[in-house]
């Protein structure tokens, strides 16, 4: 049972009052009992002394009738149970017993003569009896004793009556005091507390009332403190609301607020049958601006562009920053697609207008994806996804374009989702397999190893190109599981061939940036140990995109992999940012020149220049180089002339499945294998 404060207080007061009053009553009751008993004893003593005083003459004169008169008179007193005169030897010579009127008197009964002593003996220990004894003397000699038995019964009866009256009085006092104290408590404590409780509930509902301060006591102070707290909470709440709903950098609504606004707009448009547009805006090459001008300049750019976007729109439109370089615009009350396009053009124009950032002229561009309600979707999530998809399509086109989400995109998305679902089942269904692209020493064309390639044999689609499913796997996160499977299968294959006495050389496995974030080094160490693969025989091919992530973490993970002594290869060099600072900062063993540069050799002067520069840089950094996509002998000759260490491509072999690669290893490279095995055996 939950008691209110008032009930607890009232109960406590009542208990305290009741205990105090009861203790007080008990004290006075005991005192009264003692006093009454004392008075009783004094009355008995007075009678006893009187009888003892007058009895000697009657005793000496054998005047028993007179003695009987004495004892009878004494026994007639209300509280006297018996009055007995005994001789000095203890023989009773006169006795009177008030034989009725109380249980004690009835126990003594009407005994007389010698029987009286037995009767007295039977009640001697009775708690209601007070036995008094008075010596009867004559000329200093004891001639007898006067025994008086007093009963506490009437005293107790009187006390009980008193107790009852006092209990009634105490109850009345307790009730009165309790009610009075409770009334005072209610006015001075409960009412302020209830006002504060009501105010607290209003605060909980998000309202911030001001509690009236009526007194200067502790409750007044509490009310003031409450008001101050409510004001502070209100301010904090506003701050939290701002933080939760607005972007700290630009002051624009954030993703959450954007979702909320779209949700509200969906409701409104649903009611009115209206349309609205969602624009997903992503800046092009923002990273390069950030990298080249610094983060502060990047932030300054974002703030400026946010303002421009706002300025370019109507008051009813919403501009939000979703994060990074992504913005969202919600344009309600759309009438037709021309109007939507017009807004998109205004947005593109606002973004592309030159800016002065960090003292430099910057021209930003963006890609815009547009989704319409209810044409392309009718939920927040779908609108966002569709606009995002359209934006990605815009990214694939020329910079600074805006694209509507279309049915074709929708179909492509559905296709991607199906692919994602199928890919999830690809490993358990054994649809993934490893192929091996042999690598040779560029000079001798002797076998060096192979790059492991992943193939997905789809039951309906046939082989699905990695370029198609790897991005899907990366987007869904499935790449971690798949990449792990590839690593393990590659190690298992290497160990299998090695167990057959075949030297598979080096196996180069591509590693995704997503895998890299999941403590790849730990897993690599486990697999090397599990399959007995020497670390220098495993080469991990990493694209430049991995290095775009947080540098300290990447550096640490690369350092751990290097500590394992596995070889690190920078893949597809030249196709991405090809930042020379990466090569300086991160230590690699191998650099792989992308096939797109090899394809134009030796005829394309541009490709020759680029490849020459790469070779010069690589050798300068003590990196060995692998040329990808070598298909012609002239290409081989060219790279040989540039002291390229390794090559791969159709000139040597196309990618082989495991069985074919095993045959390749046994046939074409037996000499090398035998020599290497012999060398290892002697070591």
């Amino acid at each position: 049972m939950r008691l209110s404060l008032g009930s607890k207080f009232a109960l406590t007061v009542l208990v305290i009052l009741a205990v105090t009053m009861a203790a007080n009553m008990l004290y006075f009751f005991r005192a009264s009992a003692q006093l009454q008993e004392q008075q009783l004893v004094e009355r008995g003593s007075a009678l006893g002394r009187l009888v003892a005083l007058v009895s000697p003459e009657a005793m000496l004169g054998f005047d028993y009738l007179l003695l009987n008169d004495y004892t009878r008179e004494v026994a007639l007193r209300p509280d006297v149970v018996y009055a007995v005169i005994v001789t000095a030897e203890g023989a009773p010579i006169s006795s009177s017993v008030a034989g009725s009127g109380s249980p004690l008197k009835e126990r003594v009964g009407t005994a007389r003569g010698e029987g009286i002593l037995k009767a007295l003996e039977s009640v001697r220990d009775d708690p209601d009896l007070i036995g008094l004894e008075f010596p009867i003397t004559h000329n200093g000699s004891l001639i007898g004793r006067f025994l008086v038995g007093l009963s506490r019964e009437s005293v107790r009866g009187e006390l009980r009556a008193q107790l009852l009256i006092q209990a009634l009085i105490v109850t009345a006092i307790v009730a009165f005091l309790g009610a009075a104290i409770y009334a005072v408590f209610r006015v001075n404590v409960l009412s302020p507390v209830r006002r504060l409780i009501a105010a607290s509930r209003e605060v909980a509902r998000g309202e911030y009332p001001v509690v009236e301060v009526k007194s200067s006591d502790e409750f007044g102070l509490l009310a003031r403190a409450f008001n101050a707290m409510a004001a502070e909470v209100k301010e904090e709440q506003a701050k939290l609301h701002r933080q939760a709903n607005y972007d700290a950098l630009t002051g624009l609504p954030n993703r959450m607020m954007a979702f909320d606004r779209i949700t509200q707009e969906i409701r409104r448009a649903g009611r009115t049958g209206g349309r609205f547009a969602v624009y997903f805006i992503d800046l092009d090459n923002f990273k390069s601006i950030n990298d080249s001008l610094g983060h502060a300049a990047g932030d300054e750019l974002l703030v400026a562009l946010g303002k421009r976007l706002q300025e370019a729109l109507r008051g009813s439109d919403t501009v939000a920053r979703l994060g990074g370089d992504e913005f969202l615009v919600l344009a309600p009350d759309i009438t037709d697609e021309l109007q939507v396009k017009g807004i998109a053009e205004r947005l593109l124009a606002a973004i592309s207008e030159p800016l002065q950032i960090a003292g430099r002229r910057v021209v930003a561009q963006c890609s815009i994806g547009i989704a319409l309600f209810p044409d392309s979707a009718d939920t927040v999530e779908a609108l966002m996804v569709n606009a995002d998809e359209a934006m990605y399509q815009a990214k694939t086109q020329s910079h600074g374009s805006a694209i509507f989400f279309t049915e074709e995109m929708s179909a492509r998305m559905r296709e991607r989702m199906r692919l994602e679902e199928d890919l999830e089942q690809a490993i358990p269904r054994g649809q993934l397999e490893l192929h091996f692209q042999p690598m040779v020493h560029a000079g001798s064309e002797a076998h060096h190893g192979a790059e492991v390639l992943l193939r997905w044999r789809h039951p309906e689609r046939g082989y699905v190109a990695p370029a198609l499913f790897v991005p899907v796997a990366e987007a869904s996160g499935d790449i971690v599981r798949i990449g792990d499977w590839v690593l393990e299968e590659a190690c298992r294959a290497w160990a299998g061939w090695r167990a057959q006495g075949i030297d598979p050389g080096v196996i180069a496995v591509n590693v995704s940036r997503v895998q890299f974030r999941k403590r790849l080094s730990t897993r690599v160490a486990e697999l090397l140990a599990a399959h007995g693969v020497p670390p220098e025989r495993l080469e991990l091919e990493i694209t430049e995109s991995v290095l775009l992530d947080d540098h300290p973490e990447v550096a640490d993970e690369l350092a751990r992999l290097r500590a394992l002594k596995v070889r690190l290869s920078l893949d597809d060099f030249g196709t991405g940012y090809s930042s020379l600072s990466y090569l300086k900062r991160f230590r690699f063993d191998v650099l792989k020149i992308d096939r797109s540069f090899i394809a134009g050799l030796p005829e394309s002067a541009d490709d020759v220049s680029v490849v020459n520069a790469i070779f010069a840089m690589a050798h300068g950094l003590d990196l060995r180089v692998v040329a990808e996509g070598v298909e012609r002998r002239s290409q081989l000759e060219f790279i040989r002339s540039r002291r390229c260490e390794f090559a791969q491509g159709w000139l040597f072999s196309k990618a082989l499945d495991a069985a074919a690669y095993e045959a390749y290893l046994l046939g074409t490279n037996a000499g090398v294998r035998s020599a290497r095995l012999a060398k290892e055996a002697s070591a």
Partner: protein
């Protein structure tokens, strides 16, 4: 002649004086003075009306003062015990006796406890005997002492103690304060005794011959007419409603005529006891 006339005149004067004189009714201190006054005042008033003379009830604090007044002829009419009468018979003439509890006589009794094992007077040798009243108590002392003497015991053979009244002597034996009590035969039936003790625990050891109850006497100098009038008035009490009320107040059931020889049995006991002293 002159002397005869003087005597006649003196007699006349005395007679006239006597007719005007208030009579004094003396009552021995059987009860307290106030009790005596309370009980005998109605009787005095009754007699006064019958005799046409005022009568005062004279009480005594104790037997000594009563005896002194008696010796000084201080009472015209007197109610006392047999011993008193026997001792004062030269000055007083018995005219009536009490009837108490419907009886004109009373006997002296020696009571013992039933559980005392005493069945013979001789067993009282060396015992404590508690007599009811003093040595002039006829029923409480003289009659029981007479029986003891008759049994061959002397006063030295037992310890004599004296209770205030015969009833007290009986109560004393009941409470084992003595082995035998000298008392009267009617005492044991008194309500006061029955209230105080259980009489069934007592038994009479010896009972004397019946003696005429307490005597009423008048001064021997009282004129015969007045004496007879007093006697008639007393004896006549039980014959009227008002007289019975008077008797009831005095705790009497009646008053009968008596003459001196009626007290000879008592006189015999008194002589024997006094001789033994």
């Amino acid at each position: 002649m002159r002397s005869t006339l003087f005597v006649m005149l003196l007699a006349l004067v005395s007679s006239v004086h006597a007719a005007d004189q208030t009579l004094t009714l003396g009552v021995f201190p059987r009860f307290s003075a106030s009790e005596t006054t309370k009980r005998y005042s109605p009787l005095a008033e009754h007699l006064s009306k019958r005799l046409g003379r005022p009568i005062n009830v004279s009480t005594s604090r104790d037997f000594q003062s009563f005896w002194r007044n008696l010796g000084e002829n201080g009472y015209d009419i007197v109610q006392y015990n047999q011993y008193h009468y026997i001792r004062s018979a030269k000055s007083y003439q018995v005219i009536a006796h009490n009837k108490e509890f419907g009886k004109s006589t009373i006997a002296g009794v020696l009571y013992v406890r039933k559980d005392s094992g005493i069945t013979d007077l001789k067993q009282l040798k060396g015992a404590r005997v508690l007599f009811g009243g003093g040595e002039d108590a006829m029923i409480g002392y003289i009659a029981p002492m007479y029986m003891l003497l008759q049994a061959g015991l002397t006063k030295r053979d037992f310890q004599s103690h004296f209770a205030v009244t015969p009833m007290n002597s009986v109560i004393g034996v009941y409470h084992r304060q003595a082995e035998a009590a000298g008392s009267g035969d009617a005492v044991i039936d008194q309500p006061a005794i029955r209230n105080a003790i259980n009489p069934d625990e007592l038994v009479p050891l010896a009972v004397s011959e019946q003696l005429l109850h307490l005597p009423w006497a008048v001064r021997r100098t009282m004129p015969a007419g007045l004496r007879d009038a007093v006697q008639a008035a007393l004896v006549d009490l039980e014959n009227s409603e008002s007289g019975r009320e008077v008797l009831k107040a005095a705790l009497l059931s009646g008053i009968g005529k008596a003459q001196d020889r009626d007290y000879d049995p008592a006189r015999k006991m008194v002589r024997a006891v006094l001789a033994a002293h």
